[in-house]
């Protein structure tokens, strides 16, 4: 064997040995990164009935909450001028991040005379007044705000800065009353309102 060929064979063998040695001294490390996002969610967690004027029909079973706890229906009957009914709807932050009340909308869906099925006049339609008091449990304690409207559409609590931490609540006390000056033409009327509290992520 020629000397040069021998050198090449030795070099190859040496390289193989080095490779094997290198292979023996390395190992694989796997780093797993689990990045789960927060959850934002709110749900109606409690309802209650407050002061109810004499002869007005309104009890706990007149407030129903949907199965997904995202909607509630408040049914009051036999209202008359000056009479009121009070209900409280409590909403809990059921998510994992704080939520902020960004505002509420009130929309009058209808105001009709049930004997004729005709809409009430604008004046009669505005005789049903809803007053809202919001109480939020925030990091700094309870924060309260009030708003009211008898308008067909209204934006409420637009200036309120209420941040509700996860697991905490915000309650809306609603006072529903028929104006004491309501005319006889508001008899046998059905008023339908929609009140929508809206939340955004706090940060």
């Amino acid at each position: 064997m020629k000397k040069s060929k021998l050198i090449i064979i030795v070099a190859i063998v040496a390289l193989l040995v080095v490779g094997g040695a290198y292979a023996a001294w390395t190992s694989r490390t796997t780093v797993s990164v689990n990045a789960s996002s927060g959850e934002m969610d709110v749900a109606i967690s409690a309802t209650s009935v407050g002061k109810v004027s004499e002869y007005v029909v309104f009890a706990k079973n007149n407030i129903t909450v949907s199965e997904d706890q995202k909607a509630a229906t408040v049914s009051i009957s036999n209202l008359y001028p000056g009479a009121e009914a009070n209900a409280t709807i409590t909403i809990t932050n059921t998510g994992t991040i704080p939520v902020k009340l960004s505002g509420c909308t009130q929309e009058r869906i209808s105001a009709v005379d049930t004997t004729t099925n005709k809409p009430l006049s604008a004046t009669d339609a505005s005789m049903l007044i809803v007053k809202y008091n919001a109480t939020a449990n925030t990091k700094t304690g309870q924060v309260k705000a009030s708003d009211t409207s008898a308008a067909a559409t209204a934006t409420l609590f637009s200036t309120a800065t209420m941040v509700i931490e996860a697991g905490q609540t915000i309650s809306f006390d609603m006072q529903i009353l028929l104006d004491k000056n309501a005319a006889d033409s508001t008899e046998n009327a059905l008023y339908t309102f929609k009140f929508t509290p809206m939340f955004v992520q706090a940060n």
Binding site: M40, D41, V42, A43, I44, S53, E54, Y55, K70, A71, A72, T73, V74, S75, I76, S77, N78, L79, Y80, P81, G82, A83, E84, A85, I89, I91, G95, V99, S102, I109, T114, L128, V130, F172, M174, I176, L178, K180, A182, D184, T186, E187, N188, A189, L190, Y191, T192, F193, K194, F195, T196, P197, M198, F199, V200, Q201
Partner: protein, 210 residues
């Protein structure tokens, strides 16, 4: 780049920006409020009568009104009709007054001899009494009293007793000369017959929470 392509590009950018703007998470809760108002209604139920003479009919009896007509009543008799009204609404009502809106049918010759008394009762409780000669009712047909006389509960009933008295006429047969009533003195009281018709209305208002 053509204008169309530029427009498409701008819209695409705006949509992207909109997407960014709505990237914040939102949640809402919907609360529906249904509020039904009460009904105030007073309804005529029926009537009873007690007659010494003639006949009585009650017509146009609806809501809070009824027309009472006595026919062929004779002197020295008393006739009574009792009207019943019921609160068929859903809240109590305030009875403010009982009005006699129209009186007619009688002869002026006997306007001083016929008296109409109207009384309002709720059970044993009398809450109103008005007693006038028949022509005086006509003069005061629009009297109104907005103060509550009685608060009638739901399904409660009031009775309005209308008592019509026709006095004994001072004729030749029983009093001899009577200068003031010359028209009557030659008449035999047994021949006198009068008709009287009047409308009774119950003035009521809605119960109001003060």
């Amino acid at each position: 780049m053509s204008k169309a392509k530029l427009a498409v590009l701008i819209i695409a950018i705006l949509l992207l920006l909109t997407g960014v703007a709505y990237a914040r998470w939102t949640e809402q809760v919907n609360i529906q409020i249904l509020a039904k108002t009460a009904e105030t209604k007073l309804s005529f139920v029926d009537y009873t009568s007690r007659l010494d003479s003639g006949s009585v009919s009650v017509t146009n009896a609806e809501k809070a009104q009824a027309t009472v007509t006595f026919k062929g009543i004779t002197p020295a008799t008393g006739n009574t009709v009792t009207l019943r009204f019921k609160n068929t609404g859903t809240i109590p009502i305030d009875i403010d007054d009982i009005k006699v809106l129209y009186v007619g049918g009688y002869s002026d010759d006997y306007k001083n001899d016929i008296r109409l008394t109207v009384e309002g009762y709720a059970g044993e409780k009398r809450f109103l009494q008005k007693d006038k000669k028949i022509f005086q009712w006509k003069a005061n047909k629009s009297s109104s009293n907005r103060d509550e006389l009685y608060q009638l509960p739901v399904n409660g009933i009031i009775e309005i007793i209308c008592d019509l008295e026709f006095d004994e006429i001072k004729t030749i047969d029983n009093f001899g000369q009577n200068k003031k009533e010359d028209a009557k003195k030659d008449t035999d009281s047994s021949d006198i017959q009068q008709n009287v018709s009047f409308v009774v209305e119950v003035d009521y208002s809605r119960f109001n929470q003060n």
